[in-house]
Amino acid sequence: MRSLLTRLVISLAWALACGACIAAEALPASDNPALEARVMKISSELRCLVCQNETIAASHADLAVDLRRQVREMLQNGQNEQQVIDYMTARYGDFVLYRPPFKALTALLWIGPAVMVVVGLGTLFVVLRRRSRLADDAFEPDDKDAPNDPHLS
């Protein structure tokens, strides 16, 4: 005959065991999701040096895991993104940055496209305007059917 106390203890044990079985809302993989998001954002701009063109955010390589840990620790210690970047470039050079820093060496790279657009559209404009000033006989005569042919889109 079990005493009341024993029964109480057994019930309590069951209750605790079942409580552990109850499915929970999954906890975030990291203790600090906001920090982790920042780690991933910075890591997604850093090259994994042992991989064939992957970021350290995406790579499973040992070095990538180590460097992500390094980024995490630096952010936890209150350092900012620029300091993390400086840390990486001090050790691995600009090669590790997927966003090339803007300096004399990369000026052409960053400004190039804008210059090309301006030169390209500018040239087109100049050529078209020059042509618009030419007399009609510089051109071929218009065919009668061409402008109205619905099949020419």
């Binding site: 809302e25 701009e45 064939q52 657009v117 390209g120 889109s153």
Partner: protein, 650 residues
């Protein structure tokens, strides 16, 4: 025996290609009809021998012939049949053979479908294609023979890279190569016209359908590659601006420019030298892409195994083909006239503006891709240029391009009245802004960059709708006549509208997923759940399973919404027996308005697993958009006037 037949067949093909590249050309220059008549039958023979070689390689794969080195390095007895066949193009040598196979396929297509061309033009075009084949066949036979034997023959192959053991692998390279190689037709038409001095509107009309079809294939090929990366690589991304991806994007941008430029040349017989240059450039960039991918010059996940000799050969080939073309261009293009007149503000100038922007975009991609190489070659250090650069540069270039896309179709040929154009487009502008803001609000938060992207997308939709409305109700509302008018819209025009809508759909996909994607990284034990955007993901544990050539830990995830189970997802962590690489297979539930994406991370203490859950809104619109673009191209090519032209021969 079979590999020997294949090898010998390639030599015969080379012989055919040499004849094709020379005899008809001589015939065209000297007016000898008998020489020119060689072109077609030799093309057919060339195709036959290449196809035979290709069949031999396929047979070697299917039959597990590991005495062939290429088969041994890319296959395995446990490899399922479809991947044995796809393994044919899994590595450098075999994919080259696929390239040549596509090239001769296009050559035969030109031989079959161009009976309306004058025989000199035909002869020259086929000769140019023959010469290109010579280059690739020589490259294969001298440096990359797929039929090289291995002594002693191993009993077991090394296996196809597990990443490639996937349906996407079966179809992505063939589609891509059809596109890349297809631009060789426009190239051949251009060279033939420069040689013969026959660069005119008719030339543009002939070239256009070939360019459109090649462009279609390339669109699908790139889209497939992107979709494949998305569901196969397990990191949820779909474009990384990797050098090999860029190598396919650059010809695509130039091909798009070419299609539009051909329209101007066809209509007005003008800007011919610009168009012919674009035709040369599109294929040149295909060749450049081939070089970048196979020479080891750039670091890429996609790059084939390389050696310097191969790189040198392709470079020399590139120099000869492109250098020769540019020399011919510099010599002949100045003689070409300026054609008919059109105004400063007109549909023609809108098309040319689009051209400039697309070409600049292609050049910007090339700049970013090659800049590290240039800096290194100059001894000034090593830098990387990756997604942050390309995203920052490419998006702003696309904005004015899309803006023009809305205006161009509505502008009149020859002379566009700007005020009336603006009036017509005011609805499109209003819809664009209102739609963008509304979409943002419905998505939960209005974001600036997202709104700008959506404005662009809806601007196109508004413009297409305005165009359509104008054609169906030209003089005010008239529903009785509407169906008839709708049917009267030429397929070429309908194709254009569909393709442009495809771009809008694509933009919406990109914007929505970039701005509104939600991710949840959690530790899950059996029974745990996590809820993201109203979807509840429940972890039911892990099942161990065996595949044909791998073992896997398969996660059992149930997804419910409002209590209803809507999906069962099975993400896997696989270990392939032969290569022993661990691989993540994400599980995706695709939907019209969102993808649910789950991938397994590592197992942690206590038996729980790290699981990554994403809800990606509208991500499939990225590839639907590409599909619409390709369908638009198909529709345009099926236009009556091309069938009429082809039928006129009969």
């Amino acid at each position: 025996m079979i590999p020997e037949i294949g090898h010998f067949s390639l030599w015969l093909a080379l012989g055919m290609a040499l004849v094709l590249g020379t005899v008809p050309l001589v015939g065209a220059q000297s007016g000898r009809a008998d020489f020119m008549a060689f072109a077609r039958p030799i093309s057919y023979l060339l195709f036959f021998f290449v196809a035979l070689a290709f069949a031999c390689l396929v047979a070697s794969f299917v039959g597990h012939d590991f005495s062939v080195r290429y088969v041994a390095t890319n296959s395995n007895t446990a490899l399922p049949l479809q991947y044995r066949i796809a393994g044919v193009w899994g590595g450098h040598e075999g994919s080259l053979l696929l390239w040549v196979q596509m090239l001769v396929l296009w050559t035969v297509a030109v031989a079959l479908f161009s009976r309306h061309l004058p025989k000199e033009v035909m002869a020259r075009i086929l000769a140019v294609m023959g010469m290109v084949s010579v280059g690739f066949l020589l490259f294969m036979l001298l440096t990359s023979n797929p039929f090289d034997r291995l002594f002693p023959a191993p009993l077991e192959g090394r296996d196809l890279n597990p990443l490639l053991q996937d349906p996407g692998m079966v179809i992505h390279p063939p589609m891509l190569y059809m596109g890349y190689v297809g631009f060789s037709v426009a190239f051949a038409f251009a060279i033939a016209a420069l040689i013969g001095g026959t660069l005119d509107a008719t030339w543009a009309r002939w070239t256009r359908p070939w360019t459109t079809v090649a462009w279609m294939f390339l669109t699908i090929g790139i889209a497939l590659g992107s979709a494949w990366a998305y569901y196969e690589l397990g990191w949820g991304g779909w474009w990384f601006w990797d050098p090999v991806e860029n190598a396919s994007l650059m010809p695509w941008l130039l091909g798009t420019a070419l299609i539009h430029s051909l329209a101007v040349t066809e209509k007005r017989n003008s800007f011919k030298s610009w168009t012919v240059l674009l035709a040369i450039l599109a294929f040149s960039f295909s060749l450049l892409g081939t070089f970048l991918v196979r020479s080891g010059v750039l670091s890429s996940v996609h790059a084939f195994a390389t050696d310097p000799l191969r790189g040198q050969f392709i470079l020399a080939f590139l120099a000869v083909v492109v250098g020769g073309s540019f020399s011919l261009y510099a010599w002949r293009a100045p003689e070409v006239g300026i054609g008919k007149r059109f105004g400063l503000w007109s549909k023609e100038s809108a098309l040319l503006g689009n051209n400039v922007l697309l070409v600049v975009a292609a050049l910007a991609v090339m700049l970013g891709t090659l800049y590290p190489l240039v800096i290194d070659a100059l001894g000034m250090g090593k830098i990387s240029v990756g997604p942050p650069y390309f995203d920052a540069v490419f998006m702003p270039l696309m904005a004015p391009t899309v803006f023009l896309m809305g205006i161009g179709p509505l502008a009149r040929w020859k002379h566009a009245e700007l005020p009336s154009l603006a009036m017509r487009l005011r609805w499109a502008a209003a819809v664009a802004i209102a739609g963008a803001l509304l979409t943002g609000a419905l998505a939960g938060e209005i974001r600036l960059v997202a709104t700008l992207g959506l404005v662009m997308a809806y601007w196109i939709v508004g413009s297409v709708a305005t165009d359509l409305w104008g054609r169906v109700h030209p003089q005010g509302l008239d529903w009785a006549q509407a169906p008839a008018r709708l049917r009267q819209i030429p397929r070429a025009l309908a194709g254009m509208m569909l393709a442009h809508l495809g771009i809008a759909v694509f933009c919406i996909g990109v914007v929505m997923v970039k701005a509104y994607e939600v991710e949840s990284d959690v530790k899950m034990s059996v029974g745990d759940s996590t809820t993201v955007r109203g979807y509840t993901f429940i972890f039911d544990g892990i099942k161990e399973l065996k595949g044909p050539n791998y073992v896997a830990a398969q996660g059992q995830m149930r997804v419910t919404r409002d209590g209803q189970t809507i999906a069962d997802l099975r993400p896997e962590k696989r270990i392939y027996r032969v290569q022993q690489n661990p691989m993540t297979e994400a599980a995706i539930d695709s939907g019209l308005t969102r993808d649910l994406y789950v991938s397994l991370g590592e197992q942690v203490e206590g038996g729980a697993w790290i699981v990554r859950v994403y809800v990606k809104p509208f991500i499939d619109w990225i590839w639907f958009g590409c599909l619409f673009m390709a369908l638009g191209g198909l529709l345009a090519v099926s236009d009556r006037r091309y069938r009429r032209a082809a039928g006129a021969e009969q």
